[in-house]
């Protein structure tokens, strides 16, 4: 039951269309012949603008691969991926790099910050690299929202894990990208720090109209999203709107019980 889902809804920052990113018949395979492993198997997906989308699935389901492909970090074997109206499959490294720099924000699970730069320098790094001046008012607002105002001159090793992730979130937001991709952004945090970061991501969607795609295997994290996509064996097998932690957990158990035959 691979699904192609379109949500006719406009809003959010950047782009013009209601769909911030879409994948069409995306296949990602490793190796060849007998040892061929298909990580993504003809995936079609639309990421709605101004929404918080979570991608879930068991280990090896291809959820991280899907995110990496959508974000232009990884190449696909076949199929097409668009960010807004730009097809990124087939783009050369130079253009891909620029796309990531100007239109995409990242939050990784760990090691998000350059140890040689302090918090504010890390936050403005993508704009510095691009040679753009950060929008002062916006920057102030972002910094204030993430609650880092007093720690901007601190180096990463002087910040706690939660604070570091908040700096990473601020960096992702500061450049006002069309989409922010998070790869288990709370995976390394305790539940309180995790809740802080997730709450902040939620607010940035609600208040700033940000589009966010997050890979997670934590039902509580997924419950912050507007919509949850379930991946298994490289296919999208289900989706859920306005999830709660319990419902997500129930659905996950369900998948395990039903097996992956569907």
């Amino acid at each position: 039951m691979t699904t192609a889902v379109s949500i006719p809804k406009t809003g959010g920052s950047g782009g013009h269309t209601a769909v911030a990113a879409r994948a069409r018949q995306v296949v990602k395979a490793y190796g060849a012949g007998e040892t061929r492993v298909t990580a993504l198997d003809h995936v079609d997906v639309d990421i709605a603008r101004g929404q918080f989308t979570a991608i879930m699935g068991p280990s090896g389901s291809g959820k991280s691969t899907l995110m990496h492909c959508l974000a232009g970090l990884d190449t696909v074997t076949s199929g097409e991926i668009f960010i807004d109206e730009t097809e990124i499959t087939g783009l050369k490294d130079k253009k891909l790099t620029r796309l990531r720099r100007d239109r995409i924000g990242f939050i990784f699970q760990a090691f998000n910050l350059l140890p040689t730069l302090n918090a504010i320098e890390n936050i403005t790094l993508p704009m510095d690299i691009a040679g753009r001046k950060p929008d002062k008012a916006w920057l102030d607002r972002v910094v204030e929202t993430v609650g880092l105002a007093g720690r901007l001159k601190h180096r990463p090793n002087q910040l706690s894990g939660g604070q570091q992730q908040r700096v990473a979130v601020a960096r992702a937001l500061a450049a006002r990208p069309e989409i922010i991709f998070g790869d288990e952004p709370t995976g390394n945090l305790d539940s309180r720090a995790g809740a802080e970061v997730l709450g902040f991501l939620r607010r940035s969607v609600d208040e700033l109209g940000q589009t966010i795609v997050m890979v997670t295997h934590d039902p509580v994290a997924a419950s912050y999203a507007d919509r949850v996509l379930y991946l298994a064996d490289g296919r999208i097998v289900d989706e859920m709107y306005s999830p709660t932690a319990d419902a997500v957990l129930e659905r996950m158990k369900n998948f395990d019980a039903r097996g992956r035959v569907s």
Partner: protein, 857 residues
């Protein structure tokens, strides 16, 4: 066992990271082994050559270092031949008529003499020659107009049989035609050889058919060389002490003495440069192991957590170092042999044909190479190894990330500053020292202390200097420049050690360039100040000027005067009763105008009066000589003289420093004509306003003598500049090895940093740093490290050079000249070096796969 296994695995797993350290060990060991193999081969070659040509017993004139340079070799009477032939046990007597004081020119008036400093030898064709050469075309020389030339010289200058050669010897010039070409059966040491028949060699080279330069005796069978020597000495009786009677072995030793000590000097000089390279290599190895240990912190923590002892960790790191040392040394020994072969080829192209079959690899050579390589590697890895043992088991649990910033400690800072300060004081003391000998010791201490001080304090300086350089160089490049600056600063100890390695080589370059250019500037200054002569006439091959040349030059037109200058060997008995061997500068009285030596007492003109002389300041002080003193002067081979000291000259000069002047006429009064040395040089002053004409006339006068050069003052200045420049270039060439090792160190640091920062690189690429920006960031970091090293090195080197100049200011190095073009070129060059060093690491960083980089643990 497990330790060895883990070390082996680590070593192999990181062989890429070890590669540059291995290359550093390899280069140093190769240089040491190459030097040893090359000098051993040269020694063996000369041994064989001299052994081949030595007669069982040879009889020659007693060699006297104080003999006057008359242009003719010392000889023995021809009558001695009969006497020697009658000695019991002598199977044959072969007379030699050999001279090394000649110049051979071809029909185009071009000199055939080697330019490498090897002699031109003329000798009689006889049995002993047949041992080393054979005539490969033409025939043996007969009669006064025939000669045989050696094949190498003939080949180099395109001489064929039938060609005419002019031989310029002390008794006079003569022309011969080449009737044969002789080819060396053994190694040709690079000399030009010309063979004549015996009467011709006697008459034209020695000046008399009644003399020989020596005799070679063949022992009858059953008579040992020693026995024969004994019998010959007895037969010669009381006159034996005028002769040097030597066995073949003794002759070999005697011949080897000069070349042997030259080879020794060369060997130790080369080993010295190899030592500098080894020192620089130490930095590279220390850095490599420090970085490997830092990168493996978690792994070592885990080992400790599961129960490895500190000793086991230490052993494991040292075992890796041992492996590195052994691999590097073994490859280095091979490289050294290759290097020696290369050097032999170079020598071959310079005229000295070395037989590859002579390649001598002593058993000690690989042992020395291995010992140096292994010991240095082990020593260099000690500090990182001990640091590894202090890693706590807790490290296994901590997040890996990048290793903590190594902050330069306060203890280190104070030690470094104290050493630098002491070094500075020693340098200041050396600069003010009156006595050059004592001062040079202080200078050496100052150089050593300031070098060590800079090395110790380097990481601290990195903070200030790198920031300063960044302000000027990196800020232009915006955020990428800032990232590069932060990266260079993140581990000051690493940056300091990397830059220090470069600093050592560049400091030596800077110091030598300052001394060299001060030498040129001082000599130029002296020439301007004290030389009144317009032209200097000298021979190119360190030989004196033949009377014919002197006659030709003195009769040239448009010349106000020509001053002769000869060096006379003498023994002077000073008022304090001591007798010193001293060379007198015997010159025409006009020489006082040509070289206006400053006097501290008396008038120099008076020293050219009858039976008068001058002494230099230092000599006068040492022996308590004052003007008016009469000194006993025994010129070698002449009548005893008593000369009156009329003037004391200043030592503060670089021209004729320490010269004892006397009138050449005075020397001629006391020396018989055949003992009077030939003029060493002539100085000429042009008639008023006739400089051009005089130059033309003087050049024309020596046209027949291509070995003689007429130079005006600017030619002479250029000659000094060229000579100093050549010497400096050779030294720079040898220092290049140390600099190459230092560059490898920069490459190594960057390459390991790139590996260490894989995740950072991935992150930066993910958030939009382009490949080009990434590469630029690595390159800028490299440039900053290189410029930091250059700045320290050049600063230190200029301080050393300036101190040396101040110290030698009274020894004729009066003018300080800092060669800014050279210094600037070295500084800019090191930026280029930085760019080159970053080439591969930057390429690898740029090519790194973003996903893999993010995923790396």
């Amino acid at each position: 066992m497990t330790v060895l296994k883990t070390s082996m695995r680590n070593f192999l797993a990181h062989k890429g990271r070890m590669a540059l350290s291995a290359v550093a060990v390899l280069l140093s060991v190769a240089f040491v082994c190459g030097t040893l193999v090359f000098t051993d081969t040269m020694n063996a070659t000369f041994d064989k050559l001299f052994a081949n040509t030595a007669s069982d017993v040879s009889v020659g004139p007693e060699k006297d270092d104080d003999a006057q340079v008359t242009g003719k070799p010392e000889t023995l009477p021809a009558a001695l031949r009969e006497k020697l032939a009658k000695v019991d046990g002598v199977a044959g007597v072969e007379p030699h008529a050999t001279s090394k004081q000649l110049t051979v020119v071809n029909d185009k008036n071009k000199s055939l003499s080697p330019t490498s400093g090897a002699p031109t030898v003329g000798t009689n064709w006889g049995d002993s020659q047949k041992k080393s050469v054979e005539i490969t075309s033409g025939h043996e020389p007969h009669g006064p107009a025939e000669a045989v030339l050696d094949a190498d010289t003939a080949g180099k200058h395109g001489v064929k049989t039938g060609d005419k050669l002019r031989v310029i010897a002390a008794p006079g010039d003569f022309t011969v035609s080449v009737v044969g070409i002789a080819t060396f059966k053994t190694t040709n040491p690079g000399a030009a050889l010309l063979y004549f028949d015996t009467p011709t060699a006697q008459a034209k080279l020695l000046g008399s058919t009644g003399e020989f330069s020596g005799y070679g005796l063949t022992a009858a069978s059953g008579v040992s060389d020693e026995q024969l020597k004994q019998r010959v000495s007895e037969a010669l009786g009381s006159s034996a002490r005028d002769y040097a009677v030597r066995t073949a072995a003794e002759t070999k030793e005697e011949n080897k003495k000069d070349i042997g000590s030259l080879l020794d000097v060369m060997k130790y000089a080369l080993l010295g440069f190899a030592g500098i390279a080894v020192l620089v290599g130490v930095f590279l190895i220390v850095n490599t192991f420090s970085m490997l240990v830092a990168q493996r912190t978690r792994e070592i923590g885990l080992m400790r957590a599961i129960g490895s002892g500190r000793a086991q960790i230490l052993k494991s790191v040292l075992t890796e170092a041992l492996l590195l040392g052994v691999v590097g040394s073994v490859l280095g020994i091979g490289g050294g042999i290759g290097l020696a072969v290369g050097l032999m080829k170079v020598m071959g192209s310079m005229g000295m044909k070395l037989d590859m079959g002579e390649l001598t690899i002593k058993a000690t050579t690989p042992v020395v190479g291995l010992a140096i390589g292994v010991l240095v590697t082990l020593l260099a890895s000690l500090v990182p190894a001990f640091k590894a043992t202090r890693i706590s088991p807790m490290s296994a649990l901590r997040d890996a990330g990048t290793p903590a910033d190594g902050k330069a400690g306060k203890v280190r800072a104070s030690i470094g500053l104290v050493l630098t300060a002491l070094g500075g004081l020693a340098l200041a003391a050396a600069a003010k020292a009156d006595d050059a000998a004592a001062g040079s010791g202080v200078l050496a201490i100052g150089v050593l202390l300031s070098l060590i001080g800079f090395i110790v304090v380097g990481p601290l300086l990195a903070g200030f200097v790198v920031r300063a350089i960044s302000v000027v160089v990196l800020r232009v490049f915006g955020p990428v420049g800032r990232l590069a600056e932060r990266n260079a600063l993140r581990n000051p100890r690493r940056t300091g050690a990397t830059a220090s390695a470069l600093m050592i080589g560049l400091a030596l370059v800077a110091a030598l360039s300052v001394v060299g250019s001060s030498m040129v500037a001082s000599a130029t200054d002296q020439l301007d100040k004290s030389v009144g002569a317009d032209f200097i006439v000298q021979s190119e091959n360190q030989q004196p000027l033949s009377p014919a040349v002197v006659k030709a030059v003195t009769s040239a037109g448009h010349v106000e005067h020509v001053s002769e200058y000869a060096v006379v060997s003498a023994k002077i008995t000073t008022p304090d009763g001591r007798t010193v061997t001293q060379r007198l500068s015997a010159a025409s009285p006009t020489y006082a105008d040509d070289v206006r030596a400053e006097t501290v007492k008396g008038n120099l003109k008076d020293a050219y009066g009858k039976d008068a002389m001058s002494v230099p300041e230092g000599f006068a002080k040492d022996h308590g000589i004052k003007p008016g003193d009469r000194l006993k002067v025994a010129m070698t081979g002449g009548r005893p003289a008593e000369l009156t000291v009329k003037a004391v000259t200043s030592d503060d000069t670089s021209i004729d420093q320490g010269a004892v002047y006397t009138n050449i006429a005075t020397a001629r009064t006391y020396l018989p004509a055949d003992k009077m040395p030939l003029d060493f040089m002539l100085l000429a002053k042009a008639a008023d306003g006739r400089t051009k004409e005089a130059a033309a006339a003087l050049k024309a006068s020596v046209e027949q003598y291509p070995q003689v050069k007429v130079r005006d003052q600017s030619d002479y200045k250029k000659l000094i500049q060229d000579q100093v420049g050549q010497l400096l270039n050779i030294i720079y060439g040898l220092l290049a090895l140390a600099i190459i090792v230092a560059i490898l160190g920069v490459v190594n640091t960057l390459a390991l940093s790139v590996v260490e920062r894989t995740r950072e690189i991935g992150l930066m690429r993910a958030i939009g740093l382009s490949r080009r920006q990434m590469r630029r960031m690595i390159r800028l970091e490299s440039v900053v490290i290189a410029l930091f090293g250059a700045l320290l090195g050049l600063g230190l080197g200029m301080a050393w050079g300036t101190t040396a100049q101040k110290l030698l200011a009274l020894q004729g190095l009066g003018v300080l000249d800092i060669p800014w073009p050279t210094i600037t070129a070295v500084f800019l060059g090191s930026a280029v070096v930085g760019l080159l060093a970053a080439l591969v690491p930057a390429f690898r960083a740029g090519r790194m796969n973003v996903l893999n980089a993010i995923a790396t643990d």
